[in-house]
């Protein structure tokens, strides 16, 4: 966990890709879940943030 946060601070690819992947996953679940309308409404913003972040951070050093 400590290493994960240290990689985040040092802008390392692995840790940031993990954050972006979680955002995309959460966004897709929010889009397709049957429980809360507000989650559906905000799902696209979350997915888009994750996707753009993923494209950017995949150019970070490993």
């Amino acid at each position: 966990m400590k290493r994960f946060f240290s990689d985040l601070v040092r802008f390392r690819r692995g840790a940031w890709e993990m954050v972006a992947s979680i955002l995309i996953g959460v966004g897709v679940v929010m889009l397709m879940q049957p429980f809360a309308m507000w989650a559906f409404t905000w799902s696209f913003v979350v997915t888009l943030t994750g996707t753009v972040m993923f494209i950017v951070v995949s150019h970070f050093p490993a």
């Binding site: 409404t41 905000w42 997915t47």
Partner: protein
């Protein structure tokens, strides 16, 4: 006799040859790649950028002369607060989840069985692969007959096993059964595809690994979970990726079978999108809808490809 390169060099007119000799390797490489890049830009990138632009307008493709107004994020706002679209997303999620689960489970089991050497192995492979070779329109019409409550074979098979009256249920007409009817047909049609990919994975495992495991007295179950599954996993993940993307934009099969009904219980996002774009002609709105679906599929595919590479490296 001169080799083909020399013959081509001799046949090239001197003026062209002089011009080509003057180009660097990099320039020649660009000349070869340029047509592909041009096609890619024209067919993929330009329409994508154009769709993004249209998604911020009230453009209607059936009223070309009408003034096009910039509506900002209003199309996105309307889509993401529409409860009907939310229901379509849930229908898509149901379809996606169950088709992938069933196809992976049945496809892998079939591949595992076919991989065991037995008489008529090739014949069975051919028979199993047949549904995949049919057109979705044909499969849709064909299953429509099978699902007929009065004369359809499907209802009679269910009657044979459960004792329920054949005309007492209608697969395509009942709200609770229609989503399952499209799952069954898609699974029937595309399980062979998953089976073929899994079969390729199973056949790529060298026999000596199993022989070493036998020497170490590993049980068959242990061999299955520590050799077969990890080595087939990249292939399975690839199959899930292909089927996931395909089923997210599933259209033809479902239109033929249910047309999105009864009500809108089987109206998947792609069917809804087509209605918005080509029946209601709300092109700007439909473009925003398409961008939302695109970002979702693109995001999922990105993390999936990443995971696939990690599994392959292992």
């Amino acid at each position: 006799m001169a080799n083909p390169v020399d013959r081509v060099a001799q046949a090239t007119p001197p003026t062209i040859a002089r011009r080509v000799r003057g180009l660097s390797d990099r320039a020649i490489a660009w000349i070869f790649v340029a047509p592909t890049i041009f096609l890619l830009l024209a067919i993929n990138i330009f329409p994508l950028i154009w769709t993004i632009k249209l998604s911020f307008t009230n453009f209607k493709a059936n009223r070309i002369g009408r003034e096009v107004k910039d509506v900002g994020l209003r199309n996105y706002e309307r889509i993401l607060t529409d409860s009907d679209i939310w229901l379509n997303m849930q229908a898509t999620a149901h379809f996606l989840f169950w088709t992938i689960c069933l196809q992976v489970l049945i496809g892998f089991t079939l591949a595992w069985l076919i991989n065991r050497k037995f008489k008529g192995n090739d014949l069975w492979t051919t028979i199993i692969v047949l549904p995949m070779m049919l057109s979705p329109a044909v499969v849709g019409n064909f299953w429509k007959f099978l699902y007929q409550p009065q004369i359809g074979l499907f209802n009679y098979i269910v009657t044979f096993f459960t004792g329920a009256k054949a005309s007492s249920f209608e697969m395509l007409g009942q709200v609770n059964l229609a989503p399952w009817s499209i799952v069954i047909v898609d699974t029937w049609m595309w399980t062979p595809f998953v089976m073929l990919i899994c079969l390729a994975g199973l056949r790529s495992i060298p026999d000596y690994i199993y022989e070493a495991a036998e020497i170490d007295r590993a049980s068959k179950i242990r061999q299955f979970f520590t050799i077969t599954i990890p080595m087939v996993l990249p292939f399975l993940m690839l199959a899930v990726l292909f089927r996931g993307i395909e089923n997210f934009k599933m259209f033809d099969l479902v239109v033929q079978l249910t047309g999105g009904g009864p009500g809108s219980t089987t109206e998947l996002t792609s069917i809804n999108l087509k209605r918005e774009a080509f029946e209601k002609w709300r092109t700007g709105y439909a473009s925003a809808y398409a961008i939302i679906l695109f970002v979702t599929v693109f995001g999922l595919a990105s993390i999936y490809v990443k995971a696939l590479n990690k599994v392959k490296e292992r």
